[in-house]
């Protein structure tokens, strides 16, 4: 039915293919290709098999990127994930060394992560006055603190029965299992965020918590779920990380949170909430991995790599803003 004034409202979008391709994700794909060409030109040892071999360590961070993207989309932040990884790994190692069946060790590792996430979730949802940043800063210190106590004066535990974990670090041909898992999970996470009601609600929460609440979105319940999920993924990351270093120590995974956040942001997800797509985050993760592996081949001072990554991060976020402003100017003059 048309309105009383006979006005009709369009409900389809005719975006040309070109316009559809003109998005941040396409930029990132191009950047990914450029980075890879550049790295291959830097060193003859930047080869696919080497990249695949070095990749697993970095992929453990991508496990965290996925739920972190959800958290950021909701306008929240979780800086305790690195500590959760450490604590989960600690628990898994201790139980593994006690001789528990490997399946059970995996399960408990995951559950430890989920429990930590749940604690974060409970605090941020029960005390909504508190910014998640400061809550997770507290738990960041706390979770790693507990791991420190559990790790004892040695500060590290090594696996006595590494067979199970060795399996996790296995490969099909040259391709590590973890890559398969990361890709599968990435696809699932992307679909959930972009195609399901759950995803839409996350964007609603991030765009306007209050309006989402009034519209019947169970804001606090969803936040609780996502924080717990983040913990669970940290547990998963912990298991693979354990497999990659046959054990755990007090500094395990410190700084993972910042890496996960910068991947997400590089991929176009705004820390202010409600904006960005996970596709971008995943591509950005692979750009960063390529760059780290590539620059590692020429033994560049890692501090210089950090400077490059820092600058890249800032530019990546600033570029679309500048493009937007430019577009606005153009649009304005075209209406005239």
């Amino acid at each position: 039915m048309a309105g009383k004034s006979g006005r009709t409202i369009a409900h389809t979008q005719n975006k040309s293919l070109l316009k559809r391709l003109m998005c941040w994700e396409s930029m990132l794909v191009i950047l990914f290709i450029i980075v890879n060409i550049y790295c291959s030109s830097l060193s003859s040892t930047y080869q696919i098999n080497n990249v695949l071999r070095e990749m697993p360590k970095y992929l453990t961070e991508v496990f965290l990127l996925l739920p972190m993207a959800y958290i950021l989309v909701m306008g929240d932040i979780d800086i305790s994930v690195g500590s959760i990884v450490c604590l989960s790994a600690t628990v898994a190692c201790i139980l593994g060394n006690k001789g528990l069946p490997f399946g059970l060790v995996l399960l408990v590792g995951l559950l430890t992560g989920a429990l930590c996430g749940l604690i974060n979730g409970i605090i941020v949802t029960k005390f909504t006055e508190l910014p998640p940043m400061i809550v997770t800063l507290g738990t960041q210190i706390l979770f790693r603190g507990i791991a420190e106590i559990a790790l004892g004066s040695g500060g590290s535990i090594s696996l006595e029965h590494a067979e199970g974990f060795r399996m996790l670090a296995g490969r099909v041909g040259r391709i590590p299992y973890i890559l398969f898992l990361v890709l599968i999970l990435a696809v699932i996470y992307i679909i959930i965020l972009s195609k399901t009601t759950f995803g839409r609600k996350l964007y609603a929460i991030g765009s306007n918590k209050l309006a989402a609440y009034y519209a019947g979105v169970k804001v606090q319940k969803i936040r609780l779920i996502v924080f717990t999920l983040t913990g669970l993924m940290a547990g998963l990351s912990a298991l693979f990380l354990t497999a990659l270093q046959y054990g755990v120590n007090t500094t395990t995974a410190s700084g993972f949170e910042m890496n996960a956040i910068s991947m997400a942001v590089f991929g176009g997800i705004s820390t202010a909430g409600g904006k960005g797509r996970l596709q971008g985050g995943v591509i950005a993760a692979f750009i960063i991995i390529s760059l780290r592996v590539g620059l590692g081949q020429i033994n560049l001072n890692p501090q210089v790599i950090l400077i490059i990554l820092g600058a890249l991060l800032i530019l990546a976020v600033m570029a679309p803003n500048i493009v937007e402003q430019f577009k606005l100017m153009k649009k304005r003059s075209s209406v005239k």
């Binding site: 890879n36 060409i37 291959s40 030109s41 060193s43 003859s44 040892t45 930047y46 080869q47 696919i48 098999n49 080497n50 071999r53 070095e54 360590k57 970095y58 420190e148 790790l151 004066s153 040695g154 500060g155 590290s156 535990i157 090594s158 670090a169 497999a243 990659l244 270093q245 046959y246 054990g247 755990v248 120590n249 007090t250 500094t251 395990t252 995974a253 410190s254 700084g255 780290r292 592996v293 590692g296 081949q297 033994n299 001072n301 890692p302 501090q303 790599i305 950090l306």
Partner: protein, 333 residues
Amino acid sequence: GSSNDGGDDAKSEDGGSDSGKKVYAMVAKQAGNPFMEKMAEGFTEVVEAAGGEAIIKYPEEGKADHQITAIQSLISQGVDSISVAANDENALQPALEDAMAEGIKVNCLDSKVNADSRQLFVNQAGVDEIGQALMDAVLDISGGEGQWAILSATSQATNQNAWIDSMKEIMEGDEYSKLELVEVAYGDDEPQKSTDQTQALLSKYPDLKVICAPTTVGIMAAGKVLQDEGSATKLTGLGLPSEMAAYIGDGDDSSCPYMFLWNPIDLGRLGAYSAIALVNGDIEGAEGETFDAGDMENSPYTITDAGDGGTEVILGQPFKFDPSNIDEWKEVY
């Protein structure tokens, strides 16, 4: 060459360098640390003199995580040897096993990895020698009796814990019976925390005679606190002469009568010599083997059992720095 297909295998096998030089890599504990820098200097000097190429790889941060990626990158580059100053005894095992499986020789220096992950440990000084030297210093400085305390790095630092354990064992002896170890404090190798801990020790134990700080950051912070306050408590431990020169002296206005360390340059050199010997096939890292270390003091060195299932070679005794030699050494490292 921008080949992405994994071809050109021959090249990657004999090293990343084009000239066919042997490539020896050292993985430092962390960047921005003068001790590591001096070690790297010695390492590079020897490798280059032998006609090889040295790669010094710094991890992003002083953590085992980052050393793993550094080692993997070196494996990709097909280096001939990796010498690592480990941040964690066990965490590097999978990476180093990979390296050894690729035919890369692995030794460690300064702080070790477990026996399965290495072929040889280049030890700066035997744990017991260090423990003994420090214990004797405490005994001497305290005048034979009274309270003393330890200011260590982190409570998990492997080297420090080994030395502290050794000191505690030595303290069982009769001559140390009048000494009372009141506390082991941890400054986490952070200046501020180490300062807090030192001050806490002083206020908790007004009669404290000696603080022993077997860590370069801790000893610096403690040296400063004690000297600024003109405290009667004196200091010894392990420190870099260049950093500690201001605090070493006999008088009341100096906080540290003397302290110990080994020569990091020599440690790097011995690391390089042993790596070269491993790569050349002169040694395999087995007990009883010997190798030549150029003009180094104790050359040729003999490989001994490290007591952890692996082997080691010991650089020498810890070296004592006191007012008589500090000015000379502070220029060196």
